[in-house]
Amino acid sequence: MIPIQIVLISAVVFIAFYMYLRLRSSLLDAILIFLFCAVAVFFILFPDMTTKIAQWLGVKRGINLVFYCITLFFFFLILKLYSRMRRLENKFTEIVRENSLNRAEDLADKKDEIV
């Protein structure tokens, strides 16, 4: 095993472990995390496999295929995050609106205030 493989594998295992602890996941999540982790470790140990798959798909090099996959994955992630952000913003708006409506005032009564 070459040094970079040790570094990457320990990072993947650490992240998977951390995610599992943090999310207090259901069994399904745990299985998914384990699968991702297993696939990652597999490709770290046998990087030439990516090239084989790539060529089978008609892509020249394995690294290119990985790059395409990551791009798509990130794009998907951004969309997911954005829709979550919008949901949060809607909730936030509701709270601010509710609060403002409860405190609506008629300024005619506020004549005595310093202008």
Partner: protein
């Protein structure tokens, strides 16, 4: 057949408009309209400037955007049994006399909502040529996004009936609320009309209002609105 002006609620959304908002509101009050000022978390003296005037004042504790401010105003207007709801920009660019003409048109055409337009014949405005071009382009983009073609898609002056206001629920907090409103008009099959309105751009509203470059931001909001509806 003009109704009591007190049942006509004018919503004035404002963000840091302290220097002009009192003047805008006073003109509206002279016509006996009920006025709702929605202060979108201004950091200036907007509230102080208005104190003593018989207006409903609502303040967002955090800045949400013009669309959200209008929607908050609609909520309050409905609660206060408004019969007609008007949206009116705080910077004084609109002509208060247009409201009456728009309500007449609304009643005459039996429409649910009337949009103000700077581009119909009879409208007087002192728009810059570049601004005009940007607005013309925006009009087409709005048409693609909303499904109805208005001659002026981004005019802040509108009049709607209580029934229409109940159906129009703006969830686009920022600039794409214009498109969303038109979208809801189409979706709910509301009857709409357009009315020529006068707009006077003061140096103030030019400086304060939407700059042409902001249209890129609006476009961006619009695309997101279409994707994430």
């Amino acid at each position: 057949m003009v109704t009591d002006n007190r049942s006509i609620f004018v919503i004035v959304p404002g963000f840091n408009e302290a220097t002009v908002i009192r003047q805008t509101v006073e003109v509206l009050l002279q016509k006996n309209y009920s006025v709702i000022v929605v202060d979108d978390a201004s950091t200036d003296t907007t509230r102080k400037t208005l104190s003593g005037l018989p207006v409903f004042y609502i303040r967002h504790v955090a800045n949400l955007g013009q669309g959200a401010a209008i929607q908050t105003g609609i909520h309050l207007a409905l609660k206060k049994n408004a019969q007609y709801i008007v949206t009116f920009d705080a910077d004084g660019q609109h002509d208060v006399n247009d409201i009456e003409r728009m309500i007449n048109l609304l009643q005459h055409e039996n429409a649910d909502i009337v949009f103000g337009s700077r581009f119909l014949p009879g409208a007087a405005s002192n728009l810059h040529l570049t601004r005009r071009l940007v607005l013309k382009t925006a009009r087409l983009i709005n048409y693609l996004a909303s499904g109805i073609l208005l001659s002026d898609a981004n005019n802040g002056l509108r009049v709607m009936t209580r029934e229409a206001a109940l159906k129009i629920r703006i969830t686009e907090n920022r600039s794409s609320h214009n498109a969303q409103m038109q979208n809801l008009v189409k979706f709910n099959k509301l009857k709409y009309a357009e009315c020529a309105v006068n707009v006077s751009y003061s140096e103030y509203s030019r400086r304060k209002g939407l700059k042409n470059i902001n249209s890129i931001r609006i476009l961006y909001d619009l695309i997101l609105f279409k994707i994430f509806r």
